[in-house]
Symmetry: C2
Subunit: 243 residues, 2 copies
DNA sequence: CTTCTGCACTTCTATACAGAAGTAGTTGAC
DNA sequence: GTCAACTACTTCTGTATAGAAGTGCAGAAG
C-alpha cells in the first residue's frame, strides 16, 4: 500500500518518523476504517516500546499531513478526506444560488491505454487507465475531464459499475484501492478546445476554455493521477489559498 | 503591530500560545531584522520563566506559520518571506528561457481614494491607498495590477520614491511597515478587459485576459491588501499546490 | 424521565533532563 | 598558510512524569 522504499527505509531516520510510516501503512491497509478510534497514545507506546512523547510526535505529524484527526478526551480518528470539495472549487456555480451543489458526474468512456509521453513521465508508467468524464450542473455541461491512472494501482477501475463510484473520485480511491490523495498540484491556463471537447461542452468551435491540469500525489510523494479538465472560460472561477 | 485583541487576550490561553503571540509581536516590531539569530531556546526559557519544551512549542508554531526558520546547530532566524516569488507564478515566462526572471515593475499611479464597496468590505475600511502598477518582461507588458491598501496601516506609501520599493511589494511591507503577509487567497477567472487596461497591455479591445483577484492576510488574520491583476490570457499559467 | 455526579478514559499542557547531531569559530599541529 | 581537532554553542530526539481539560458512560438522585 505504502511505497516499499518508504517502509524499508528503516535505516537511520528518527523513531517518530519511522513510527509515522508504520501507522500510515496500517491506515492505508484499512486497519481502522470509518469512525472508530485508533489505539490511544498509551497503547501505542506500550505496543511499540516507545515513550508517549515519541508516539505523540508521530501522531501529530499525521494530523498535520491531513490523515488523522484527534479530539481531546475522545481519541484519534481517521479523517474522511473532505478533500475534493476543497479541490472542486473551480467553475463554482456563481449563478443564482451560492449553494454548495456538487455537480453530477457522467462517465463518458473508460479504457486501458498507453499514456502519452508527458503523462507517462509524471506517473512513472505508460500502462494506464483513461477515464473521460463529463460534469453537469442543472443538465448544463460545465467540465470535461480526462483522467489518467496507473494500472498497477487502480486495476479494475475501468469496469466498476458507474453507480458505485459516485460523484467524487478521491474518496473512492481510498475506499476501493486504499490510496489516499495527500496533496495535488494544479496548473491553470487558457486555450481553444479541441473540436471533440467543444462539442461535448456545447460550445462554438472558436470558443475559449479554461484548462486545469492536475497531478495528485499519495502520502509517500508518488504521483497517483493526472487529469486535464476543460470548461467554458466565461464561467470559470478558481480559488486557491497560498501560504 | 499585532492586532490588539490578540495581545490582550492573555486570558486563559495556554502558555505556549501566549508566548507565540509575544514573539510574533516583537518580530513585527522589527526587533530582530535581517539575518541575525533570535535568542536561543535556553535564553528565551530563562527570560520568560518557562521551560525549554514550552518555548520550543511556541517557536515551532511560528515556524509552521512561516514566520521563522530554524537551523540545527545555528539558531532561529527570521524567514525572509520568499513569498512573492511563490505568489508570482502566473504569467510564468514559458517562453524560450525557463529562468526565474522577476518581471520589472513600473508604478503607473498612486493616490488616496475611497475604495469601492467590495474592497472596503474585505479591508474593513474605505479609507485606502490605490496603486496602479504595470509589470513588464523584456519590455512587454504582461500584467496590469490595481492594488488597494488600508491607509491606517500603510500611510505614506503613496509618496515613497519608486526606486525604494523594488519589484516585490511584500518584502517592502515588512521592512517599511512591519507588516508580514502570512497567507493569501487568490481567485482566478477570465474576462474581456476594460478599454484602459487593454490599452495598457497593448491588446485588442475584444481580447481575453486572465484576472487574478487576491486578498492578502496578516498573521492575526486581518486583511491587509486587495489586488486585481490582469494579463493576456494566452500566455497565462497559474500554478497552485493543494493540501 | 430528567438531571446531576462520579469515574475511567482520552488528548493536551507543562516541566525536567540526557544525549545526539549539526554549526561556527578558535586553537594548535604540521 | 592549511588543515585537523577541539570547543562552545545551537537545535533535535527521546524519555519520564504530573496534572489539566475534555468526553462519554453508568448509575444515583430528584
Amino acid at each position: 500500500m505504502m511505497s516499499p522504499d518508504r517502509l524499508e527505509q528503516d535505516n537511520r531516520l528518527p523513531a517518530y518518523l519511522r513510527l509515522r510510516d508504520r501507522i500510515a501503512a496500517r491506515v492505508a491497509a484499512g486497519e481502522w476504517t470509518a469512525e472508530v478510534a485508533l489505539p490511544s497514545e498509551n497503547v501505542f507506546a506500550r505496543e511499540e516500546g516507545l515513550s508517549v512523547g515519541t508516539v505523540r510526535k508521530a501522531l501529530q505529524q499525521l494530523v498535520s499531513e491531513g490523515l488523522l484527526e484527534r479530539r481531546q478526551g475522545a481519541g484519534t480518528f481517521l479523517r474522511k478526506p473532505a478533500f475534493e470539495p476543497t479541490l472542486f472549487r473551480f467553475f463554482a456555480l456563481q449563478d443564482a444560488d451560492r449553494a454548495k451543489t456538487i455537480p453530477v458526474s457522467r462517465l463518458v468512456a473508460r479504457s486501458l491505454q498507453t499514456a502519452p509521453a508527458e503523462v507517462a513521465e509524471v506517473l512513472g508508467t505508460a500502462d494506464c487507465i483513461r477515464i473521460d468524464r463529463l460534469r453537469l450542473l442543472k443538465d448544463q455541461p460545465i467540465l470535461s475531464e480526462e483522467i489518467w491512472l496507473p494500472r498497477a494501482r487502480f486495476d479494475g477501475i475501468e469496469t466498476v459499475a458507474e453507480g458505485e463510484i459516485g460523484p467524487l473520485l478521491y474518496p473512492f480511491y481510498l475506499e476501493r484501492f486504499g490510496t489516499f490523495v495527500a496533496h495535488a498540484e494544479d496548473e491553470v491556463s487558457f486555450a481553444t478546445p479541441p473540436a471533440e471537447i467543444a462539442r461535448r461542452l456545447g460550445l462554438a468551435a472558436d470558443a475559449f476554455v479554461a484548462v486545469i491540469e492536475r497531478t495528485a500525489f499519495a502520502l509517500d510523494g508518488s504521483a497517483i493521477e493526472w487529469r486535464r479538465a476543460m470548461g467554458p472560460a466565461r464561467s470559470f472561477r478558481y480559488r486557491s489559498r497560498i501560504g
